[in-house]
Symmetry: C2
Subunit: 335 residues, 2 copies
């Protein structure tokens, strides 16, 4: 039977969930694709473990210090990299090196972290085309919310006129708490941090950068645009005051952090900022940590999709969806 | 350049819209797939026209009596049939013959009409597998609402736990009018018939059969079930009284005609009937002639998609999405 060797870079919540789910689906992969999928390496930023015959769940409990980095991952013999590490969209590090090394070698990459894709998306796509490798990013643009699939597949043939995305769980949770309970921004944030819904340093989410990165990836990967992060006008929710909340409530409006893409003379433009939606607007119904995207087209009208998966499983499932497409399309190495 | 010849059976609103859209996208097909797509035949139940070099818009204005039927379509030399005729799910006629003749000859079929698929779905799928032909049905299960794509593609790898579909525009329009304006069922129906939103014989929609057929196709084609229409418990909206409407309004509930699929001991079950949803339920937000589907999964949580395309263009666009997948995958005949 054909064998497909997988390495996971980044072994936090999502990486661990990918490993668990992958190991639990081995019979499925054999049945549907005739591929014997082996997890041959996992690593975080400082430690990892590998086994060319395949790791099992119990092998993942202790990682070896120093077993990490691009050379470690490549030398594991993996055919496919699943990259789910920490993300820095201003440098692309550390995932960028790993992804480049795999794509350069003609091996496939499933990328969950946005940093490298935002920083060097064009270079990575070019590299993949050159070597014939596959680069897939379903997990990077909204976890289980199938944004890329809608644009690339479900709406195939349509012209996309506009996209509105509520793509960041933290800010939606905070705005929802403020509007529903009248909580102040600092109180809502402190509560979300205690409950684990917001990072200790919440700026990436709260200032709109996470939404901006996701919108950028949708534009560049699904709509063949070539935008840079600094092309996007980005406002967050950090300056929302109680007075603003009161005003929205009184006027029966619902504030949402919206990433909006539209076209000006055939060029895509993106902005991220608070939009006060009518309570009757479908997008005003996005509650708590859920997400949604509304896509306007020329011939299929508007499609609006809501997602509410439980993390990190939902993101891991999105990454494994990408893996299945690789299994379906690619002749993996023979054992 | 490779040529791909297309025939359209059923030349009412949807069939005409397919022709118009197909002819307008010829440059796109060449650019993306390197295929010169020619519309070589169209026919209704009694008349049609064909030209092996390709029909243009002006050729479609007058149809020749007698140019119709399976032999006419096959002899046009078409590589792909797009079937969009009238539908009878108790007999499959007349589309069933056309689809069978194409699939038997190893030619592809894009089917918009539900009748043949409901009546003989298993036989048609088997036939396509035998001859290596492609059978695609995106337009048959909810027009532009990408039900099949969600199940087959966006949720790939998930176990589907439950599906709830509001899939019939007419009944949703009627229930919405009754709840919003307090109109009685006969008055709402009469108004919808005058406005063209309901058929002169509305039983197929109003009694729930259209929803049942769509749910059956989702189960059989996307979830590999093998259900018959008589396996489904079907109730419609024809017995809704003003007293029931009053009661729902007073209890802040919203009645919707829901097609519900669930599993009992790994076997799929479907029922169609009115469900009184809480006003806070996302599916209660489906307005007028719109549609929606909510899919519950094991690992990606719930995905809910709303669609509101304008007919017949949206259904035609769904059929052409299927055609594009055939163009992408198949080596068409060489001119």
């Amino acid at each position: 039977m054909m064998r497909c060797r997988v390495a996971i870079a980044g072994f936090g919540g999502v990486g661990s969930a990918v490993a668990t789910l992958l190991l639990s689906r081995r019979e499925r992969f054999i049945r549907l694709y005739g591929k014997d999928v082996r997890l041959v390496a996992v690593c975080g930023s400082r430690a990892g473990t590998s086994n060319p015959s395949g790791l099992e769940n119990e092998d993942l409990k202790t990682l070896d210090p120093g077993s990490s980095g691009a050379d470690f991952l490549l030398s594991s013999g993996a055919d496919v990299l699943i990259e789910a590490g920490p993300t820095d969209f201003r440098t692309g590090a550390p995932g960028l090196d790993y992804i480049k090394s795999f794509l350069s070698a003609g091996r496939d990459a499933v990328v969950v972290s946005k940093g490298a894709l935002v920083h060097s998306g064009r270079e990575l796509r070019h590299l993949a085309r050159q070597t014939g490798a596959t680069l897939r990013i379903s997990g990077a643009t909204g976890a289980a919310l199938p944004n890329i699939d809608l644009l690339e597949h479900a709406l195939q043939g349509c012209s996309i006129l506009q996209i509105e995305g509520i793509l960041n769980a933290t800010t939606n949770y905070l705005l929802d708490a403020m509007i529903t309970d009248g909580t102040s921004f600092p109180d809502a944030l402190a509560h979300a941090q205690v409950a684990g819904f917001a990072e200790a340093d919440p700026r990436y989410d709260v200032e709109g950068w996470d939404t901006a990165c996701k919108m950028l990836l949708l534009a560049n990967f699904a709509l063949d645009a070539d935008l840079m992060i600094d092309d996007i006008t980005v406002d967050g929710i950090q300056n929302v005051t109680s007075a603003m909340i009161d005003e929205w409530r009184q006027s029966r409006q619902v504030p949402k952090l919206v990433g909006r893409l539209w076209y000006e003379e055939a060029c895509p433009r993106i902005r991220v900022g608070i939009e006060a939606l009518s309570v009757d607007d479908l997008l005003a119904q996005v509650r708590g940590k859920n997400k949604a995207i509304r896509i306007s087209t020329d011939t299929m009208g508007e499609i609006t999709t809501f997602g509410c998966g439980t993390e990190p499983t939902a993101t891991a499932a999105a990454a494994l969806k990408d893996l299945e497409r690789i299994l379906a399309s690619r002749t993996a190495s023979v054992s």
